[in-house]
């Protein structure tokens, strides 16, 4: 299996509700693909299935060639994840949180300390490294969430609405950081912010009511529909 991210017939049911309906998608090495769709389309569910937070009702998925159910630990070891609104242990500092997660990932002392410093500087939290997270704003938590996703320098990033809840200035800066950090990485980003998607991704997979309705390059969608907005509205029946 060549592609770093592979999903085949991935399905998730919550009781009688079908949240994701047979999603098949491959993301090639170094590609940046956006999962685009209205609320409830199945974007977050797909990411949660990939990183083992949910178990699929049917279908399979692989990260870096490892089955996300059968070889969950091998699979998530190669991934940086940022899912949903990030919450942290309020009694720990950013430095302690990153050290905890880094040690769980098997990073050794010297390299770990180096990376903690690098990623905290990258997301602009260098000066707050020893402040307890309990006093952090949502924007600061978003930054820290990105820092923990990048800590072990994973080849794959799974990001769910990474800049939601930030003010316009914060969003711009966050996208700049993501562009910089995402170089040479395979990125699957779930979002319903079309601007964010067009700034960060080269390909788009549009989901609607749990089903994949399009998977094309941004440029081909623009050629066919005139703009990403029109493509999105046309393929999702105007749902937001």
């Amino acid at each position: 299996m060549k592609e770093p991210i592979v999903m085949e017939g991935l399905t998730k049911r919550y009781g009688g509700f079908l949240a994701l309906d047979g999603l098949s998608l491959r993301v090639g090495e170094g590609e940046k693909v956006a999962l685009l769709g209205p609320n409830g389309a199945g974007k977050t569910t797909a990411l949660k299935l990939l990183c083992g937070l949910l178990r699929p009702s049917a279908g399979r998925a692989w990260l870096a060639g490892f089955d996300v159910v059968e070889e969950r630990e091998e699979a998530v070891a190669r991934v940086g994840v940022m899912v949903e609104t990030p919450e942290f242990y309020s009694f720990l500092t950013p430095e302690e949180t990153l050290r905890y997660l880094g040690l769980l990932r098997g990073m050794d002392g010297g390299r770990l300390e180096e990376r903690i410093e690098e990623v905290l500087e990258l997301v602009g939290l260098g000066e707050r490294r020893r402040t307890r997270i309990g006093s952090f704003s949502r924007g600061m938590k978003q930054r820290l969430a990105l820092a923990q996703a990048l800590l072990h320098d994973p080849p794959i990033l799974l990001l769910d609405e990474p800049s939601s809840g930030l003010d316009p200035g914060g969003m711009l800066e966050f996208r700049r950081i993501l562009r910089e950090a995402g170089k040479r990485k395979t990125v699957l980003l779930a979002s319903h912010l079309l601007t964010e998607v067009s700034h960060l991704c080269g390909r788009v997979a549009i989901l609607h009511r749990g089903r994949l309705v399009a998977h094309r390059s941004l440029s081909s969608l623009r050629r066919k529909y005139g703009s990403l907005e029109k493509a999105y509205l046309g393929l999702t029946g105007g749902a937001v």
Partner: protein, 277 residues
């Protein structure tokens, strides 16, 4: 990286989280105050004699009775254990911190075990502070520390293993940390004693009930409960039966540890199956 190394990491950071919480210091202060106040009442008001304990027993086993009375206040730390453990697993889902913790290459079983050991360590530290203070006060007033106190501490540790296990079981199964904490407290303080009392009245010795096993911490001092409290309750039906049920400390400790491990096993099973929806 071996799973055992990861377990060590989880224990270290989970304990750090407990150590930084106000409830850890609150529990320590409450236990220290309870021990000091009970010692003051005991010595200042001659409480044990006023309670009607036989004079001969007070003369022979004064230090043991004092140590039992004062150190039993340390058992308040067991309630603190519920507050340490009740929300530990549930909060990962309730507060969303699981989104941060679970996508790491560490087994859910290791996470539960590490969190459990961290909570147990926090409980033992608070309990230890209470018992140490009790030992020092006994030494100050009676010039010696009864050996039974070590046994009593051992039984209390077994209770801590059980109480933490029960809190983890509720925490792994219920949605919220508050619900898990309340369920643990109500089960331990109301449900168990209701069942035990019912069994006593029905003529069945409830030696296997966790609350009865807890009474065994007194047996380590070599004090006969019937001798100590028999006259006090005037042969009262319920008390008399409860007194007879005070069990062997070794059996009680094994029973409580077994229950605790069983509940911990259930927590691992439940936590592994739980999804972060």
């Amino acid at each position: 990286m071996r799973e055992l190394d990861r377990l060590g990491v989880v224990v270290r950071y989970e304990f750090l989280k407990q150590y930084r919480r106000r409830r850890f210091y609150g529990a320590t202060v409450v236990v220290v105050l309870a021990v000091v106040l009970s010692a003051a009442m005991c010595e200042g008001w001659d409480l044990l004699a006023r309670m009607g304990l036989p004079a001969r027993l007070l003369e022979e086993k004064g230090a043991e009775l004092f140590a039992l009375w004062v150190s039993s206040m340390s058992a308040l730390a067991l309630l603190a254990a519920v507050f340490f453990s009740g929300d530990v697993l549930a909060s990962e889902f309730e507060r969303g911190t699981g989104y941060l913790l679970f996508p790491n290459p560490v087994g859910r079983g290791t996470l539960v075990l590490g969190k459990y050991l961290a909570c147990l360590l926090a409980t033992v530290l608070v309990l230890g502070a209470g018992f140490l203070l009790s030992a020092l006060l006994t030494l100050a007033f009676y010039g010696r520390v009864p050996l039974g106190m070590a046994g009593s501490f051992g039984v209390t540790l077994a209770i801590a293993v059980f109480v933490n296990g029960m809190a983890f079981a509720f925490s792994s199964a219920l949605k919220g940390g508050t619900g898990a904490t309340l369920a643990t407290l109500l089960t331990y303080m109301v449900l168990f004693s209701t069942v035990s009392t019912g069994l006593s009245h029905a003529g069945h010795e409830p030696w296997f009930m966790p609350d009865r096993a807890s009474d065994a911490m007194a047996s380590t001092y070599g004090i006969s409960f019937e001798e100590a409290f028999g006259e006090m309750v005037g042969g009262g039906q319920a008390m008399g039966r409860m007194v007879r049920a005070s069990g062997d400390p070794v059996v009680a400790s094994l029973l409580l540890t077994g229950y605790g491990m069983g509940l911990l096993g259930f927590s691992v099973w439940r936590f592994r199956r739980r999804e972060m929806a």
